[in-house]
């Protein structure tokens, strides 16, 4: 009777169950996927998405939204495939500057109380523009070490799974366990009272943005490690994917309610949903629509479990 799970755990339970259900369906449709290689093929492209989702989640934790995530990851991918490969030092400097630019964005948004949606919308043009300048046509080459990292074959568990768990763990430690994470989520929950406790909300927001930038940089590098080369539009989809991932993972747009583990699960779910569809062999006309349908189904599942959980709690 007194089995009252902490709301944080419940928030995780739902996305985890959806992922499991989807995975079961995929295995049933395509038993070949149930292997080391199979799992890696299913999930390796989820790794950069998971990183981008964590980045988006950090921005959402401070009640902002980043519409430039995809453009920024594309830009990072272009830098990684050019400068980071040819002149690593310069490449790292550029990436550091990009992270600093993200932090600066947080500062501007806070100081002038700007709507983050608009600023990041503008930034998405800027990042795409820079990427087009770097790589007018697709090309470049991934740094050896990034390639190695993404294609490594650890024993027993495929790299994609290891990386996902690692990302979730690091995200959890930073966002849920550390003081900095508490501060960032506090800003999302009640900015005014955080300020009244004597914290610099400006610094917290800048920190959240900077950290998001760092995760997004990691996403770009991971992506290039997988694709071996880059183009200016390579990750434009990540903007919506990352938002959807956070939501699927139980996060919310406002109020600082986020979950890094959930976000990673959300990213994996989205990736898996795509595979599930292609295993279903739907007519090409409706393949795009089916992606919408699967999004709806997964969220409906979330609603259902939410309802059950609420009924449980009311008892």
């Amino acid at each position: 009777m007194n089995l009252r799970l902490p709301s944080e755990t419940v928030r995780l339970l739902i996305p985890a169950l959806s992922l499991t259900a989807l995975l079961a369906a995929v295995f049933w449709l395509q038993p070949r996927a149930m292997s080391y290689i199979g799992l890696n093929l299913l999930f390796n492209l989820a790794v950069p998405i998971a990183l981008a989702t964590i980045a988006q989640m950090l921005i959402m934790a401070v009640n902002n939204l980043d519409l430039s995530m995809g453009a920024f990851v594309s830009f990072v991918a272009c830098v990684a495939a050019t400068f980071l490969h040819d002149t690593p030092l310069l490449g790292w400097l550029i990436l550091l500057a990009a992270i600093a630019a993200y932090a600066a964005l947080g500062v501007i948004i806070h100081l002038r109380d700007l709507p983050s949606i608009v600023v990041t919308l503008g930034m998405s043009f800027v990042w795409t523009g820079l990427a087009v300048l770097l790589l007018p046509a697709p090309g470049g080459q991934a740094p050896e070490w990034a390639r190695w990292l993404m294609t490594a074959k650890p024993p027993l568990v495929p790299m994609a799974i290891v990386a996902s768990i690692l990302i979730a763990l690091v995200g959890h430690l930073i966002v849920m366990r550390s003081s900095f994470g508490v501060l960032v989520r506090g800003v999302g929950g009640n900015e005014r009272s955080v300020e009244r406790a004597g914290w610099s909300v400006l610094a917290a927001r800048a920190g959240a943005y900077g950290l998001a930038g760092a995760f997004a940089v990691a996403a770009g590098i991971a992506l290039v490690g997988l694709t071996t080369s880059a183009d200016a539009n390579i990750a434009l989809r990540y903007t919506l994917l990352s938002i959807a991932g956070v939501i699927l993972g139980g996060g919310e747009f406002v109020g600082g309610r986020v979950s890094p583990i959930g976000a990673v699960i959300g990213a994996l779910t989205l990736t898996l949903a795509g595979s599930f569809l292609s295993f279903l062999r739907i007519s090409p006309d409706w393949q795009i629509g089916a992606q919408g349908a699967i999004l709806v189904i997964v969220l409906a599942l979330r609603l259902l479990l939410n309802r059950l959980e609420n009924r449980e709690r009311r008892r």
Partner: protein
């Protein structure tokens, strides 16, 4: 001090100012020669952004998280189906319009249905919906480009008293939107909901009905825009709405509507639409490459928003 106050009270002023500056900078290149042509072109093309932007504005007014990402797909579906139905026959213009608007209504109903029944954030619900609608557009005519009826093509591309017909239609839409927002009961309701849904509910406002009507309105305006755009550009294409996704959001926010909801304004949409068209024209005119053009577009958007909004007086 007083002037600053006046300006701050009217956030749309900035988008108009920016549009004027860019217009001047573009016209300056040719020594004033292209002024008329540029103005005409700007009015024509801004009209489409105004129509979709107005719908998006109503949705964004509903408060944080409210956004309609199905706008491009709705435009495409309405355009393709209407043109297929009309099949170059002038007698079918009215039925075509009715069908386009009906598609808008259907998409709006679907959008709010998903939001309400599944309780999912609008951004995800409308994204899912847009995939389905886009598939429907592909399925209905497989991307064939059917010409519009000649009367309609003529109407959409010509001018009355030197003002493009499209601009007149958009102006009409804007005036109706302004009356709705500023003077009507419905306008009060969406502004209230945008500030606090809970408070609106407690004040006896029919929250679901209002939100539902708003999502339908947005989709209907998108459908109308798709219908007109398809006729204007000589046929519907499957990717014709694509650029109106970011555009519809950008004109709303650059136009001074608060993305936090509950605070909107219609004139700003016109200013922002003109501005966004003129920026691209200006940068094209100055012969900048795509990269620079994108960067400049982005920086100008940020610049406008930085100038336009100061930090509100904070509560202690």
């Amino acid at each position: 001090m007083k002037a600053v106050h006046l300006l701050a009270a009217k956030p749309w002023i900035w988008s108009w100012l920016a549009a004027a500056v860019v217009w001047t900078a573009t016209v300056a290149v040719t020594g004033g020669a292209g002024a008329f042509g540029l103005t005409q072109a700007a009015l024509t093309f801004a009209a489409f952004s105004v129509i979709v932007g107005t719908g998006q504005m109503f949705v964004i007014t509903l408060g944080p998280g409210n956004i309609d990402l199905s706008v491009p797909a709705t435009m495409t579906l309405a355009g393709t189906v209407a043109l297929k139905l009309m099949n170059v026959d002038n007698g079918m213009i009215a039925p075509g319009l009715v069908v386009a608007l009906a598609i808008g209504i259907a998409v709006g109903v679907g959008n709010y249905g998903l939001i309400k029944l599944l309780r999912i954030p609008p951004i995800i619900a409308t994204l899912a919906m847009s995939f389905i609608v886009q598939s429907a557009a592909i399925w209905t005519n497989r991307g064939l480009r059917i010409k519009p009826p000649s009367l309609l093509a003529e109407f959409t591309t010509s001018s009355t008293f030197a003002i493009p017909n499209m601009a007149i239609v958009a102006l009409l839409v804007a005036v109706i939107a302004w009356v709705l927002l500023e003077k009507s009961l419905y306008g009060r309701w969406i502004l209230a909901i945008g500030q606090s849904m809970a408070a609106a509910r407690m004040a006896g406002i029919p929250v679901d009905g209002t939100r539902f009507a708003t999502y339908v309105l947005c989709a209907v305006l998108a459908a109308l825009c798709g219908y007109l755009l398809a006729c204007f550009s000589g046929g519907a294409a499957l990717n014709m709405g694509a650029e109106y996704l970011l555009m519809s959001i950008a004109v709303v926010v650059i136009g001074g509507t608060s993305v936090a909801g509950g605070d909107s304004n219609v004139p700003g949409i016109w200013g922002a639409s003109l501005f966004l068209f003129l920026v691209v024209s200006m940068l094209n005119t100055y012969g900048l490459g795509a990269g620079f053009r994108l960067i400049m577009t982005g920086l100008i958007i940020i610049g406008v928003i930085v100038v336009a909004s100061g930090r509100r007086a904070r509560q202690p």
